[in-house]
């Protein structure tokens, strides 16, 4: 079986030049960094907050805070990883405001034996995403990931949607590598379990 490939490739040198220029006050250079990462930050923010307006605010606030604090960025980590940490904190803060009755933390670790053990073993149809229209599929995927605890969906979106490495995800979330791996496994398995009902092979589906 082929491994899942990461799709993020980063021209690091060009970025270092942009970060340096932005740190010196070049807003045009900072705008280039915004253009480079705004879509990623928006996706991350909306996955965590599950709210479009909050995601929009998170993008604005995260980039502004990054600009204000560029002096603290020493270049030891990638700029993107540093930016993601700011964005995740902003997104979690908005989520806490919206759900004051619930504890929302990246440290949240809901550990049970059951959530790692598949309950339904059903093979899926070939090309399951083609069973639905684009709009239906987005609705299914959105509802499904919304059901995960925030700490699980945050790890999943950074690692599997945005393509950060396990180490980068751990650095961005200030978690240990084993904690990232543990949450990622449970997030993946829980999503798989929840998607079963939409994608499992149906009677009469004779394709291999």
């Amino acid at each position: 079986m082929e491994a899942i490939e990461n799709k993020v490739a980063e021209p690091a040198n060009e970025e270092t030049v942009l970060v340096e220029a932005a740190r010196s006050g070049d807003i045009g250079a900072f705008e280039s960094l915004v253009r480079r990462y705004d879509r990623n930050v928006f996706r991350i923010a909306q996955h965590i907050t599950q709210n479009r307006e909050d995601a929009e605010d998170v993008v604005q606030d995260a980039f502004l805070k990054a600009y204000q604090n560029l002096g603290q960025f020493q270049g030891q980590s990638k700029f993107y990883t540093w930016l993601v940490r700011i964005a995740v904190n902003e997104a979690l803060m908005r989520l806490r405001r919206r759900r004051p009755e619930r504890t929302v933390s990246i440290d949240e670790d809901i550990k049970t034996e059951e959530d790692s053990m598949p309950r339904e073993i059903a093979d899926w149809s070939p090309n399951p995403e083609q069973m639905y229209t684009q709009a239906e599929l987005k609705d299914i995927l959105g509802k499904t990931i919304q059901g995960l605890p925030p700490s699980f969906r945050t790890v999943f979106v950074l690692r599997d949607v945005e393509g950060l490495s396990t180490e980068e995800t751990a650095s961005a979330l200030e978690l240990s590598v084993p904690a990232v791996k543990s949450r990622l496994l449970r997030a993946r398995l829980q999503l798989r379990e929840r998607l079963n009902k939409y994608f499992k092979r149906r009677d009469g589906d004779t394709r291999p």
Partner: protein
């Protein structure tokens, strides 16, 4: 190898982050365990479907509006760093100290 042992290694297997000996053991298990084969395949599909889904794309119109707001805030901050930002000053919790990549 038991199925529970296979599941513990599933994430590293899908990410191809393991030594060749462990990988060979897992693949040997997959040869005869249909349940683990199905779980492995459908978990891989789950990741790929989310990755390719274009869920939560940033529309161009919204993107333009956000850019304008960010640039305006940055200019404002540059001209008057003490008071000009549209948002509050960050607390330590909100602006994490940089850590080197591992």
């Amino acid at each position: 190898m038991k199925c529970s042992d296979f599941l513990k290694e599933l994430t590293d297997y899908l990410d191809d982050a393991m030594d060749s000996r462990t990988k060979a053991e897992l693949e040997e298990h997959l040869q005869w365990c249909h349940n683990c084969y199905v779980v492995c395949n459908t978990t891989k599909s789950t990741i790929e479907i989310y990755r390719d889904s274009k869920l939560y794309e940033l529309p161009d119109e919204l993107r333009t509006r956000i850019h304008s707001a960010i640039v305006a805030n940055c200019r404002s901050h540059k001209s008057n760093p003490q008071t000009a930002s549209s948002t509050k000053q960050p607390s330590p919790e909100e602006t994490p100290q940089e850590k080197p990549a591992k």
